[in-house]
């Protein structure tokens, strides 16, 4: 092979990130650059595509029976068919699960949990079927915080924009923090069990498209909470598996 010109420093970094050789700190830096520099993100993506054919030689192995059904149950709320529990037992279990993980959560989150706890400690009630309603046209925002008194620390901000049918969430945590974990955002409206709104990466902003069912729940006083989860998010679609690290209520802008 003839001598190839060296890659530029930027492209070398993009290639290294795509290949996966960067250590955790450099990986976090690269992720941050991808979020801020579209050209760098495009370089990484191009390298991922260059290397991907290595995967095409691998043997196909039939996925286990029943896996699709499990996946379908896990599909998050960005669609029209939210998996909802309709029997009392399941709801009891889910609420218990939520409550346990909340109680076992970080001590530093205890104060901001108070609001959440009040709601989950109410006796389980059959979830009322939500009738989709037209957007109210109400802009709402929430600050998801941890700590108490003078030590309240904002972790996330969220704004609900009914015109965009979206919730815009910004993580205020440093990029790459909680590296081996992910932050999962939950909506707790009334007595319903928590609805996952998806994962939010540290230091990044995300626009979460909301289906009508969830838009109807975006109301003043509804709580947003964030839990710390293993990669991939909570295994339980109806509540956090990991500790809740912060919570805050939606209010009018």
């Amino acid at each position: 092979m003839s001598e190839a010109p060296d890659l530029s420093e930027n492209e070398a970094l993009a290639a290294e990130h795509a290949l996966g050789v960067l250590n955790a700190r450099d990986r976090a830096d690269a992720e941050m650059r991808m979020a801020r520099e579209p050209a760098f993100a495009a370089d990484v993506e191009a390298w991922r595509m260059r290397l991907a054919p290595m995967l095409s030689g691998l043997a196909a192995v039939p996925a286990p029976q029943g896996l699709w059904q499990r996946i379908e149950r896990l599909l998050p709320a960005n669609d029209g068919g939210i998996a909802s529990a309709n029997d009392n037992g399941a709801i009891m279990n889910k609420l218990r699960f939520w409550r346990n993980s909340a109680v076992g959560g970080f001590a530093l989150a205890a104060a901001s949990l108070a609001g959440v706890m009040v709601q989950v400690n109410q006796p389980p009630v059959v979830v009322e079927r939500q009738v989709p309603v037209a957007p109210q046209g109400q802009l709402l925002s929430a600050s998801v915080t941890t700590g108490e008194g003078s030590r309240v620390q904002p972790l996330f901000t969220a704004s609900y924009d009914p015109d965009r049918k979206a919730l815009i969430v910004t993580s205020l945590l440093p990029e790459g923090s909680d590296r081996d974990k992910v932050h999962q955002l939950w909506l707790i409206a009334g007595k319903d069990n928590p609805k996952s709104l998806g994962l939010v990466e540290s230091g990044k902003a995300k626009v979460i498209a909301l289906p009508t069912e969830l838009m109807a729940k975006m109301a003043e006083g509804a709580t947003l909470a964030v839990s710390l989860e293993a990669p991939g998010g909570s295994k339980n679609p109806n509540g956090p598996t990991g500790p809740v690290i912060g919570a805050g209520q939606l209010s009018r802008l």
Binding site: M1, S2, E3, A4, P5, D6, L7, A12, A15, E16, L19, G20, V21, L22, N23, A24, E45, A46, W47, R48, M49, R50, L51, A52, P53, M54, L55, S56, G57, L58, A59, A60, V61, P62, A63, P64, L67, W68, R70, I71, E72, L74, L75, P76, N78, D79, G80, G81, D180, G198, P211, A230, P231, G232, G233
Partner: protein, 185 residues
């Protein structure tokens, strides 16, 4: 990839429907790709249970990110395979440092029955990459493949190979530059 962009990709229309929130389209994509992606997860994780977990996560990720798919840049199979690989590597890293303890050994790609291949026209891309990789010296090929399939960091590679960090880094960077040159020629 050039071949991906020019070959009609029968899976592409599914991506639009998935991005629009159509579960049936995701189910069809699952039918067409799950065996391939399960193979990817198994290759990286060597653990069936973990691979099942990751595979679940991969389809949930596809569901969330389908709107980011760009058919001009990659075939659907390339795109979803990359998601599967990255998720599996994330899981591998989450196992902790012990996951990196083993030695570099036979990293040859297992050439399995690729039932999906005719669907996916991946053969051209694969052969090209294969050809270009084989032009690299054995050591460079081996470290690039190890890094790709195991997500092993420079530090861990240097440790395994008992070579200075800067040297390993230079092998890989030179190798990647050559690879790019070869793929473009």
């Amino acid at each position: 990839m050039a071949a991906a962009a020019t070959t009609s990709d029968i899976l592409t229309p599914l991506m639009t429907r998935i991005a629009a929130g159509e579960r049936e389209a995701l189910r069809q994509l699952y039918e067409a790709t799950s065996a391939k992606l399960f193979g990817v997860c198994l290759r990286i994780l060597s653990d069936r249970e973990e691979s099942e977990d990751v595979l679940q996560d991969v389809y949930v990720t596809i569901w969330r990110r389908a709107d980011r798919f760009d058919g001009a840049r990659a075939s659907v199979m390339t795109w979803v395979s990359t998601i599967a690989r990255n998720r599996a590597i994330d899981r591998l890293r989450a196992r902790g440092p012990m996951a990196y303890a083993e030695q570099v050994d036979d990293m040859e790609i297992a050439d399995g029955q690729d039932s999906a291949e005719t669907l996916l026209s991946a053969a051209d891309d694969r052969n090209r990459l294969h050809g270009c990789l084989s032009e690299l010296d054995d050591r460079t090929q081996s470290v690039i493949r190890t890094a790709f399939f195991e997500g092993v960091t420079y530090e861990a590679l240097a440790n395994r190979m008992d070579a200075p960090l800067g040297t390993v880094k230079s092998w890989i960077r030179r190798g990647l530059a050559k690879l790019k040159g070869c793929l473009q020629s």
